[in-house]
Symmetry: C2
Amino acid sequence: MSGACTYVVLSGGIGGAKLALGMSHVVPTDKLTVIVNTGDDFEHLGLNVSPDLDTLMYTLSGAVDPETGWGRADETWQFMAALEQLGGETWFRLGDRDLATHVQRTQLLGSGATLSEVTLKLCERFGVGPRIVPMSDDRVRTHVLTDDGKLEFQHYFVRDRAAPRTLGIEFHGARDAAPAAGALAALRDPALAGIVIAPSNPYLSIDPILAVPGMRAAINDSHAPVIAVSPIVGDAAIKGPTAKIMRELKLEVSARSIAAHYSDLLDGFIIDATDREKLSDFGDERPDVRACQTVMKSLEDRITLARATLNFCTTLATR
Amino acid sequence: MSGACTYVVLSGGIGGAKLALGMSHVVPTDKLTVIVNTGDDFEHLGLNVSPDLDTLMYTLSGAVDPETGWGRADETWQFMAALEQLGGETWFRLGDRDLATHVQRTQLLGSGATLSEVTLKLCERFGVGPRIVPMSDDRVRTHVLTDDGKLEFQHYFVRDRAAPRTLGIEFHGARDAAPAAGALAALRDPALAGIVIAPSNPYLSIDPILAVPGMRAAINDSHAPVIAVSPIVGDAAIKGPTAKIMRELKLEVSARSIAAHYSDLLDGFIIDATDREKLSDFGDERPDVRACQTVMKSLEDRITLARATLNFCTTLATR
């Protein structure tokens, strides 16, 4: 692949950040843009918290906690312990160092900066190479319809540990939102050589991005190949509640379901090597499907998957 | 003194907290109310910070940093270090544990509680015995007129280290403020046996309290003796910029100036034992003046001064 080519990754949190980190090792960092879900954002303890943006920022700068894949390495929890003593809300864990990110973001937003501008400033401070852009500077909030009623995303996901049964998912505010300028610019870049949908939760992490009016069209209008990496391996999710949600939504838990979900977008689809025998389940039409190792345990795994994804882009583009 | 008697202390931060702590050892804790300056309060990093209330709360609960006299003991500073990395405002030092107090206060105020209610809740959590009440639930902000222009209190005091020359002091909002109900109730308590003006900065810490309409009248209307402890020993302040401000305001730096400042309120005045020879500088009229050790280095010093103050109250009341 040429160094002049640019790439876009659509990402949720931990899983997407892993692939984006791999990409950042094989693409010049100024050629890589990650468009990040902000449907998980919320206001907590008076702070503007953007969990997926932070996970990308921490992961791509090497500041992330390597054990959890979110939050900061060498974190301390004195604030949280003190807040608990005072009877404050402690279901969402904010580390002492991580807290500074939320305070600074809240300050900058309060002074009139857009989320894109704030993200850029924070990324500069963290020394992040790739461009991380929120899907939108407008407020979009994922709500999960459950048998416990409608829940804000973090209430569903963190407070209630994704235990309630999912009946549906809504992206509150999406209809009135616009893609962030940096997201559109990256998708419209003439040098764009590939759009990669990371192995994030399609329903909770990627769909909010696609729900922003204009985003889906910008992806479809691009001449660059669109490739998704399946978050489903066998009949299980690599991480998180994807498989559980699929069952609750009466979807077959398989990579094929994921491909079908993205069918109007995909040129290429990557399933895990262990699902190789399922390649014949996919038809001869779009998307072209490849099998390779998608489970990313080491940095090498991330880089290998990133390289395979880029090679796939090149193949699809030159065909 | 009888256990049925109640006492009120008017207090700023560190110096007042020391005397209040001494008082809490010689008065049943449910008989002691501390009315605290909130002119120093400010909104910082989106948080409602009440430095003097916190100093009282931490001191009376034993949570205070014994080295500094403010903030929490065994504090950590990870948040501040991370905020500095992000280019945030770091001139006002907020420890990781202390931060929880401000976040919880801000949350509770945001949900509609008064500052008195919030203070009560926080004090309960910290296990504070005496009643700590803000001078007012309304917003009063001390501004210092200096040769650098008009400065908000914390900008003058912490950011600029009280270096600018003081030309005057204003209590913004005081005219429209009312004393906190708990402050008035304590001053009107039939069992009240003494009102003690702590050796705090008269101009920056006590005057804001007295500037709240109704406060001065409530003190004067009380049958209880009013006693002040001089923050000036010799021609210097025990701590902080009191002497510097007095010079800048063209006041003689002496205990006598302090007594004159409070002249319409005082029945008794306590000067330091080292100023004993100056007793004759005071006239035979009100206030009655006593000399005793006012510099409080140890807990024993605090208790000794508290006991002397209460004895003085008893003497004045029975005379």
